[in-house]
């Protein structure tokens, strides 16, 4: 009875299947990762192109029997599924861009993880926020208190993702080295393992695809 892991981790065979599968993985990772992951530009572009082509096929069939037949029903159901994943993926990213806007702006390497439309959104939103805080109360405060990036004691105004917050993950590929999770505490990551542990310990493996967030 060895259907589970291999079945689950079976590689999709065609590029079309691979792209959709990878889009779903990116979506799940993005939903559960505390940080903003690199934008899945290639996959999103290809899936969106196919989506558009499919919509056009559907629209060009209007008036024919194909438009209302059951094949059309299947096509439309699938379109809604794809749209849902893309929508949720993009909006998950915007949520994080809103929460960690200043942090992202201040870190060029993180800024690279954004698509160009996301970057535009980020810049304009930060301007809006700045203006809002200024008109609401900041401009009434003494000049030296007008800033949006002070640090008081341990806490910075620039909110950064908490990389140590725990996540559930599944190991896709056995990782050879032992993983340090605390002082004198190591875990092994074997294919199929499921763990709850701090994100920072596996962040690199998530990006590389060896571990998925679930």
């Amino acid at each position: 009875m060895d259907w589970d892991v291999d079945e689950l981790l079976a590689e999709p065979t065609t590029e079309v299947e691979q792209d959709y599968s990878s889009l779903c993985t990116q979506w799940l990772n993005e939903r559960m990762a505390p940080e903003l992951l690199p934008f899945a530009e290639d996959v999103v572009t290809r899936v969106t192109e196919r989506l558009r082509a499919q919509l056009e096929t559907l629209q060009s069939s209007i008036g024919t029997a194909n438009a209302t037949g059951y094949r059309s029903v299947l096509i439309q159901i699938e379109l809604e599924r794809i749209k849902f994943v893309l929508r949720s993926y993009l909006r998950t990213r915007l949520s994080k861009i809103d929460d960690y806007g200043q942090y992202i702006q201040a870190n060029p390497s993180v800024l690279l993880n954004l698509s160009s439309t996301e970057r535009q959104y980020l810049l304009r939103h930060q301007q809006l926020l700045h203006r809002h805080y200024m008109t609401s109360f900041l401009r009434e405060l003494p000049m030296k208190m007008n800033k949006l990036d002070d640090t008081i004691g341990r806490t910075s105004m620039v909110a950064a993702p908490d990389m140590d917050s725990p996540v559930f993950c599944m190991v896709n590929e056995t990782i050879e080295e032992n993983l340090r999770v605390a002082e004198n505490e190591y875990v092994t990551l074997d294919r199929g393992d499921i763990l709850l542990l701090k994100y920072s310990a596996i962040a690199n493996y998530v990006r590389a695809g060896a571990v998925s967030l679930i």
């Binding site: 009875m1 259907w3 589970d4 079945e7 689950l8 999709p12 065609t14 079309v16 299947e17 792209d19 959709y20 599968s21 779903c24 799940l28 939903r31 899936v47 196919r50 989506l51 499919q54 059951y70 094949r71 029903v73 299947l74 096509i75 159901i77 699938e78 379109l79 599924r81 794809i82 849902f84 949720s88 909006r91 998950t92 915007l94 949520s95 809103d98 140590d164 917050s165 725990p166 996540v167 559930f168 599944m170 999770v181 605390a182 002082e183 505490e185 875990v187 199929g192 393992d193 499921i194 763990l195 709850l196 542990l197 701090k198 679930i214």
Partner: protein, 183 residues
């Protein structure tokens, strides 16, 4: 917040179920269907009575339209479930249920009870397994520490069920320990 608040740190059960819809399953078509190019896959030509492997969501839709019969996965066979149930009762660990077992079973038992042999017995055993695993998960909470917890063989829906409580508890512990270690 571009995402609804309740989705910020977890998935809804419907989302987990949606993912089960992506998994592949065998069907027996009841009529011929030409190749169907979709965005996520190309569905091959179907000719009854030859089995065909398709995404579960599509299988469910064809079933609903009476254009196909679903072949339940092997693990849902009564004999397999009986041995899984035995393991589940004997072991402290979770038995090796497929990762998306709960949501897949939910979809299939609703959509095609007529395609599942001994469906009532299957339903009963699944419930027993489910309850046994729930009480193991509860016991797992006693083992939560600030570092890590292994939960091998726990299913996607089961993880989602325990996620907030386990994660938030671990997170709070982690923060306390982190401070204590810094000082």
């Amino acid at each position: 917040m571009a995402l609804p608040r309740e989705l910020e740190a977890t998935f809804s059960p419907e989302e987990i179920e949606f993912l089960a819809g992506n998994e592949y399953i065998d069907i027996v078509p009841l009529e011929t269907m030409d190749q169907l190019p979709l965005v996520s896959a190309t569905i091959p030509i179907m000719k009854p009575p030859r089995k065909c492997r398709v995404p579960l969501w599509l299988a469910l839709e064809l079933k609903r339209q009476h254009r196909a019969r679903i072949v339940p996965p092997e693990w849902l066979d009564l004999s397999n479930l009986q041995s899984l149930q035995e393991q589940e009762m004997e072991m402290d660990m979770f038995s090796k249920m497929p990762f998306r077992w709960l949501e897949t079973a939910h979809l299939l038992l609703n959509a095609c009870p007529d395609d599942i042999e001994d469906v009532e017995e299957v339903r009963r055993i699944l419930l027993t397994i489910r309850e046994a695993r729930q009480s193991k998960a509860r016991a797992g909470l006693e083992a939560v520490n600030e570092v890590q917890l292994a939960l091998d063989n726990l299913g996607a829906m089961e993880i989602n069920e325990i996620r907030p409580l386990f994660r938030e508890t671990m997170n709070r512990m982690r923060k306390i320990v982190q401070v204590a270690e810094e000082e």
